[in-house]
Point group: D2
Chain length 359, copies 4
């Protein structure tokens, strides 16, 4: 049994409490929120859970094994740092930190204290993303050529992070999860319609050396909600529409070959279009799967699906996108991976200081 404390009882915190309440081998001991009305609401729905106004009452409680942090991004690092130093396992909301530097320091602290640090990239636990991962891993799409995602709606303007930091972590985590190649640079453009220099519309291109490209279109100011991702290979292509109640994934048996004539100009592209398959997907609640993975990984001392590597790569791309927007869209190279940056999907565990177990 893992005793859990949850910091932050806002919209998402509510979902986290409900799912950790239902998770296996897990006991939600306490929830912290500065707002009295939120604690009152907690008491009404979960009378058995202790509500505290100070997060330290959770972080320094020796009865608590793991801390879940669901607060604004800027507070992720200081809260996580304290908890990791106390030897708590930490689950942190996406994006994991405000900068690569913070994220890497959190990873170092987790390794030094030999505890699990995991990021809540919930989408990785959906049936749709799991199916896409499986199709890509089994080479069913052929060579992957592009990923193109549109995530737009009328959304709350965040006061501290722009629309890419708010919405794109979902899509970038999916990108990092299903595509093994590492990107080498990004371009981003955007605009702010407020006076605080925080973009409410932004476009991000992620470039790869391999002939693969990823593009993200994010907006808080679209009158319609769109959640559409295309993943194209030269043999099959996927349309992932997260708003479809049951037909979220469509697999198009559609591909193209190109033959080149001597003359470079004479390009011949052969299309092939065939059937479409709409696979049945697992309908387990993603957030419950995430909670179970966190608890299970603590118990088994194993690397969870939504590892800090994925979380770090998300922050790395977001940080670079900020630079590119500031430089009017110019290409920004992604930093060379440092010591703590392990390859996604790497089967061999690279240990930090020799005693990290949760990677």
């Amino acid at each position: 049994m893992i005793n859990v404390g949850i910091i932050g009882y806002g919209y998402w915190g509510t979902n986290l409490v409900r799912n950790f309440f239902a998770a296996k081998d897990c006991c939600v001991k306490a929830v912290a929120d500065e707002r009295p009305e939120r604690l009152q609401q907690l008491k009404k729905v979960f009378p058995g859970i202790v509500g505290v106004s100070d997060s330290d009452d959770i972080i320094y409680d020796p009865a608590i094994d793991a801390v879940v942090i669901a607060t604004p991004v800027f507070s992720h690092f200081p809260l996580a740092k304290k908890a990791l130093l106390q030897g708590k396992h930490v689950l942190i909301e996406k994006p994991m930190a405000s900068s690569v530097e913070e994220a890497e320091m959190m990873i170092d602290l987790a390794e030094q204290n030999n505890v699990l640090l995991m990021v809540d990239h919930t989408f990785l636990y959906t049936g749709a993303v799991e199916k896409m991962k499986q199709l890509v891993d089994h080479k069913e799409l052929g060579n992957i050529k592009y990923l193109d995602s549109t995530r737009i709606n009328l959304g709350l303007f965040q006061p501290d992070i722009n629309v890419l930091w708010d919405l794109a972590p979902h899509d970038i985590s999916i990108l990092n999860y299903i595509i093994k190649d590492r990107p080498y640079s990004v371009n981003a453009t955007g605009i702010t319609h407020t006076n605080n220099d925080i973009e409410n519309i932004a476009y991000l291109t992620v470039n790869y050396n391999s002939g693969f490209i990823a593009h993200f279109n994010c907006s808080w100011t679209s009158p319609v909600k769109v959640r559409m991702m295309l993943v194209g290979g030269d043999e099959k292509m996927i349309l992932y529409n997260d708003l479809e109640p049951t037909e979220k994934i469509k697999i198009y048996d559609t591909g193209y070959n190109h033959t080149r004539d001597e003359d470079k100009k004479l390009i011949l592209v052969d299309y092939r279009t065939g059937d479409i398959n709409v696979p049945k997907l697992s309908t387990t609640e993603a957030l419950l799967g995430m909670a179970n993975d966190f608890i299970g990984s603590i118990q088994a001392k194993k690397r969870p699906k939504s590892s800090y590597n994925i979380g770090l790569d998300v922050v790395r791309i977001l940080e670079a996108s900020n630079k590119s927007i500031k430089q009017n869209g110019c290409e920004v190279l992604l930093d060379q991976p440092g010591k703590s940056v392990k390859q996604n999907n790497l089967e061999v565990i690279i240990q930090g200081n020799g005693n990290s177990l949760y990677q």
Copy 2:
């Protein structure tokens, strides 16, 4: 009665012949195509129209008043130049030329010869675009904040022009038609999946000084066909889905206001969402409207809706997008408008050499 000759009887040429055949005060005298099988097909469907294999037979025919050019882009300039020098009115397919230089030379020739030069941006003649223009002109959307267009499908890889030159002219002409502000720069990224360095996926951002932004997503390699444009104002927003048979335009009574506190961080955005209106649109065939505008503008010596100014601005943006892609997405400033670059929608006619009438 205006006698018309049409050069190029391919897919689009067929549509042009059919619509000029039906246009008012117009007689299609001859059609030129090098391919004998195309001329045979012409003879079968339009036995009354002369088919010729050499375009010069049209250009140098004194009985022909106006020449319609529906050939590959690289041939637009030489054909148009010849025809303009012969004093023919010219309608040219989009994009009007391979470069700004060519386009400007064509415009100069038209002015010097006092003939009409018009570009076939057919979408400007649709009920949907006309409705959007009207809503923007009447300030019904409030201040226009963004235009975002997605035009993707499985498309023929063109051997000589990339996907932006192939697909984006539609969207950029709509942008130029409905938005009066002039853009100052572009960013573009893209990728080629063939060996000829011609992008089959590309993303284009067009930047303005006014807080407006436009973005275009074009692809020949999408398994699904999408034709979706969003035009957002701070009072209303438009969704234009060209694939909807009858409900192409939806007007969302949705807006947002922002109030700024002393503290720059405290941004307060108020949303408002209300009804949606789906206006009934004119269902006249756009291409027939375009043909009638060409003939009518020759007769009335007036500037047509799809003027060379719009055509030139489209080429200007496309040319800059090429440069940006080559420079890895860096911002490319749009050239300062030269003498022939008139403002769209400018009511005052700026004349070239003092006797141009068709602007």
Copy 3:
């Protein structure tokens, strides 16, 4: 404060408990269910509510003012009868009874005991149905000509009631709520694919003297879920698609006039199609609105929106549909309304034995 006891903690019972828990001036005292595992689940989610296995512990509890019955249809009458005789107010799930006779007896008992008897036709409390009611009442559709509803999906085969009794109460209650005319007959056809003579597909036509017609298509064996209702007038028509997340109601400014020539054969129908309006709808949870109406009507001694009149008319049509199916689709006249059958929407209250207050 009204003390409520709820009988039946199945799928719908869970929703009822949650919403009465949240309702104004209401205290959920106890929940009854024979199944120990359901009571355990209740205890987990609502530790403050008493769980009992015998419904009599609720019905005979003097501290309980009102009883909510969410059990299979055949048990509605005996449970409601007991509760009404104890002077409890009763809210009963749809359909209110297995027969018109039972429903009329329940109404008589409610009148005699001067308590509120209400039926849970939840849809009447949705923003969509409220909007339709308002449009019809304000004559915005012109003369109403037809209502056509399709409610099909893969559904649980019920062991005791056929697909019309299971699914059509929703649609028939909407019909009865928005259309003031009274039907005079029904035709129904259907088929059973099991061996128990309970139809899993059925079609129902409800006939009116006024030139209005209603039709219902219900199935438990459709691979796709459809929830679509058309309400057509000669001036406007409504499409109500309950599966649309936000655009549930579309109002088509579409109508038709017919002019008749002397010759009966020469019928001239003029169509008119105009804009479509998608109104913003109230998004309050319907079930909470229903719970609040029940509690509020008890307190105000007023007739609730989902009155027993609507509930009785639903049963009357369902009972007649059974007869029609047994008679191979022949027309079955609806019984003449008896003493307890008040007109829907009748402003004048007809009292039963002189002391009924809740009609």
Copy 4:
């Protein structure tokens, strides 16, 4: 080479001329229409085809082998009779006649004169219907349980036939083509909103002895256009949405089994839902396929796909639907098949008077 004359150059006649013009081994010699403006239009589009105002000029022309009749339903029989007596092969628009009696007389005449009589049920030549036929024939759906079709839109009120005769022939011909069982009765209800007693909304149930049921919902007064057919088996189910541009057919790997307990009441139905398959369909123009089948069947002296048997069964069901509507929806038995009524899909050819070859 078969010489063809076409009677009727209205909306559908135009399509017929265009497709017979393109058909193999076929020459369209003449087109008849009483309206001078239609003949003028013909001359403009097809200058090589003779236009005549009197259909006799086609029927009695010895150079013409086959007559295509595309006139209002009431004129089908007199025109076809004349043509058959002249030994012409006849293609007739759907529905083939105004009554079963007329249809049977036409069939007798065709047999006696040893010519082909075929009905233009165009839908049988679409890729979608061909795919459904193939799936049913190969038992991929398991045992077929139901067919449910909705064909509604704002349509022209016909002055001589009701909405079932106008719209349902499409669906009934598909029913007759893919389902081998013979129906034994029909029920129909409907309403007229004009003064000429011609229903503009109607519902039709077709009953079978085998536990299969078919239902048709037709309307000229729906604000939305719906073309949706469900065909359900106990192993798979088909959704056929004719308005989808490319995904017309979806095959749901969805079925249900029922096990019966001793107690008749305890019905246990097991659902199974799996993947959905959207097959690629042939995109040949259906009308051209129909024209080629007519010409090819004349040449090969074989029974065409859209045989008179299917056409007769369509009229049989329509005639019975009229009776049922007049009898307030009561069940009307379908006449016992007479001598000319051959089973659809019957492999053994039953000959009429011993010399019929085209069945």
